[in-house]
């Protein structure tokens, strides 16, 4: 593949992009912001959150900018009515299901897109998992705050650590990140590297000292 830049039409601007880069990268290089949730610069993009979808003329569906590669003369709209509706509804549904109180970036997005998480009513089913899991000396897991972005699963697997301690339980709305057969962390292959805590965007995973400090007002004694 040649490295000669190709012209891509993004929001009616001609952007010259290196072949093989993503729409997200091309847009950002041109100063056009596309929101992301699950995307992380150092991890494999899985395009699960779909908040980065853009309208690619000629495509039946919207296209996730984090994985779609630029093509010559593609006409792409990153902020059309159709795109904004999809983003707003995804945010509304997410915020109505999950505790986003420790996810400031998502709070900003909710405001920016005018999302109303309360539109589904007061009796809406939330994704609740019961008590915070405190089963090891290093970190806690508060899955009521988990948005299923997959980052922790990926750093635990092929993207970083190759320990494969984290996977999935359940299906659909009831999907959750879990250890094998929900075993406590010390009984898994976890090596307590902390990478999962580092990439968690919502406070679902956090250091135990930080958690205890918030609970008791002071850090735990060693």
């Amino acid at each position: 593949m040649s490295d000669t830049p190709i012209p891509v039409h993004i929001d009616d601007r001609v952007v010259m992009a290196t072949p093989g880069i993503t729409v997200l990268a091309a847009a950002h290089a041109a100063g056009i912001a596309i929101p992301t949730i699950c995307y992380h610069d150092h991890l494999t993009a899985n395009a699960v959150c779909r908040i980065c979808v853009v309208e690619w003329m000629g495509s039946r569906t919207l296209v996730p900018a984090c994985v779609a590669k630029v093509q010559p003369n593609a006409r792409i709209y990153t902020n059309s009515e159709r795109v904004r509706t999809a983003r707003r509804v995804i945010l509304e549904m997410l915020a109505s299901a999950v505790d986003l109180s420790e996810a400031p970036e998502l709070q900003v997005l909710l405001t920016e897109y005018g999302a109303d998480p309360h539109r589904f009513g007061p009796d809406v089913v939330r994704r609740e998992h019961g008590a915070v899991k405190v089963d090891n000396p290093f970190y806690v897991r508060d899955y009521d705050k988990c948005i299923l972005c997959w980052r922790c699963v990926q750093v635990c697997a092929e993207d970083v650590q190759f320990t494969f301690a984290l996977g999935f339980n359940g299906r659909g709305f009831d999907t959750s990140i879990a250890t094998f057969f929900d075993r406590p962390m010390p009984e898994t292959t976890c090596v307590f590297c902390g990478n999962c805590v580092g990439v968690c965007p919502t406070g679902a995973l956090k250091g135990k000292r930080e958690y205890m400090a918030a609970q008791t007002g002071s850090p735990p004694t060693r």
């Binding site: 899985n46 395009a47 699960v48 959150c49 779909r50 908040i51 979808v53 569906t61 919207l62 996730p64 994985v67 159709r82 509706t85 999809a86 509804v89 995804i90 549904m93 997410l94 109505s96 299901a97 539109r119 589904f120 009513g121 809406v124 089913v125 299923l148 996977g167 999935f168 359940g170 299906r171 659909g172 709305f173 009831d174 999907t175």
Partner: protein, 447 residues
């Protein structure tokens, strides 16, 4: 009605466990013919026949075969027999009644594209189909149709039967690959497509059972015969899964492009219940509803696209006007809530929220803003989901609201009386045994 069934011709007439029965009824003549023609000619034949995939997506099978035939080995062929679309039962009947035909068709596919390993992935809830296809595979190994040096041609091909474990999503081709690889059945991002990056990351041909079975008569009878059946743009025989409120539900083999009227009144013997047609669900839960005004639209891919409907896997589920349509929609919404795999946000969250609103609709507890939310959720799932499951999860619900006389103010489907419950087995969804009894045989019109 001069059409002579070919896909269902052997059903009920041969012992599905007998290879010699199958051979005596013309079995393995297509393989012999394919081997005379050679791989290139078979792929060309498929391309020129314009055989469109019968599993639901209607992708030209010849394009898949050609791409994989030109790709480097190792490569795979897979029969997608994870038939899970509600209302679909064609592949089950074919596998239970004529399992050798599927094995022969997979061997031809492997021969044409140069694959040395194949899989038949069968829905776990089909124990009889699994047993019969497995038996057929074993018998073919013993007879030299599978394994080393098939029929003395030097062609080598191994074929394995794999069972699904109950997830609807595993019928999606890339989730099916993950399942065979021993992983959780999450759909992959496309591109790359299976012809380039399929099972174990290798070029893969994956076709629905019915699509593969179409290859047998195509090879034996030739291009002209095939293209003279049905419409020019999507020719060939088609299996329609006729169910619901009709006198004679069952499997119908007819030319592609047969009209709803012919299916319901000539093959099905007319509408039962109130006797008045209320609506038809085409393509299953992932399909769309059409009303009685569409009785004369040809049921082929292009014809249905023109009225914003789909043929899907060939489901024709008939509802009379005494059906509680709101309860039907609740059942469909519950199905998608249950079967969403949970990978992408629009479907993972949207199938739950859709179910909650449809539940309120069905129990007359709708709140202001609910219907707008339902539409926006539907649009978001259709536009932004990763795979076909999420993209189609709102189609039935929204098409029912748009086409079946739904009135927002009264929250009623004007055409439906709501004086009965949802379809029960006794009211038309037949047992498989009953389905066998009139496979492929049109009945005199009763209208």
């Amino acid at each position: 009605m001069s059409y002579q069934p070919v896909l269902t011709a052997r059903l009920g007439k041969i012992d599905p466990a007998s290879l010699s029965d199958y051979e005596a009824a013309g079995g393995f003549q297509a393989l012999a013919r394919a081997m005379e023609l050679g791989p290139k000619a078979v792929v060309e034949l498929l391309r020129e026949a314009y055989l469109l995939g019968r599993g639901g997506a209607a992708f030209p099978a010849g394009i898949k075969w050609k791409a994989v035939s030109e790709a480097p080995a190792p490569k795979y062929v897979i029969a997608n027999a994870d038939e899970s679309e509600p209302g679909t039962f064609k592949d089950r009947i074919l596998m239970e009644g004529d399992p050798f035909a599927l094995v022969e068709a997979v061997i031809i596919a492997a021969f044409a594209v140069g694959a040395e390993q194949g899989y038949i992935y069968i829905r776990g809830e089909y124990p009889l189909a699994i047993a019969r296809v497995q038996h057929a595979v074993n018998a073919c190994y013993n007879a030299g149709y599978l394994g080393h040096d098939i029929l003395g041609t030097g062609f080598h091909f191994d074929l394995e039967v794999r069972k699904g474990a109950g997830a609807y999503i595993c019928g999606e081709e890339t989730a099916l690959f993950e399942s065979i690889e021993g992983k959780r059945g999450f759909p992959r991002l496309k591109p790359p497509f299976p012809t380039e990056y399929g099972l174990f990351g290798r070029p893969t041909v994956i076709n629905n059972v019915e699509t593969l079975l179409c290859v047998l008569p195509l090879v034996l009878r030739g291009l002209e015969w095939f293209r003279n059946i049905g419409p020019e743009k999507s020719p060939g025989p088609k299996l329609y899964c006729l169910s619901g409120r009709v006198q004679r539900p069952g499997l119908v083999e007819a030319p592609m492009g047969t009209t709803l009227r012919t299916l319901i009144y000539d093959y099905g013997g007319g509408v039962t219940g109130s006797g008045e047609l209320g609506g038809v669900l085409l393509g299953g839960a992932a399909g769309v509803f059409v009303g009685p005004e569409h009785l004369d639209v040809p049921l082929d891919f292009a014809g249905l696209r023109s009225i914003d409907a789909v043929l899907g896997s060939g489901v024709v589920m008939v509802f009379d006007t005494s059906v509680d349509m709101k309860a039907v929609l609740r059942r469909i919404a519950r199905f998608f809530r249950h079967e969403s795999c949970g990978k992408c946000y629009p479907c993972q969250l949207g199938t739950q929220r859709q179910y909650e609103i449809v539940e309120r609709l069905a129990t007359d507890r709708l709140r202001p803003g609910d219907l707008l939310a339902l539409r926006e959720i539907g649009q978001t799932m259709r536009d932004a989901s990763i795979c076909g499951l999420g993209q189609t999860a709102s189609g039935a619900v929204l098409s029912a609201l748009d086409r079946l006389g739904y009135d927002e103010v009264s929250n009623r489907f004007a055409r439906f009386n709501e004086n009965e419950g949802v379809l029960s087995p006794a009211s038309g969804l037949s047992s498989p045994l009953e389905l066998y009894s009139h496979v492929g045989h049109p009945h005199p019109s009763s209208h």
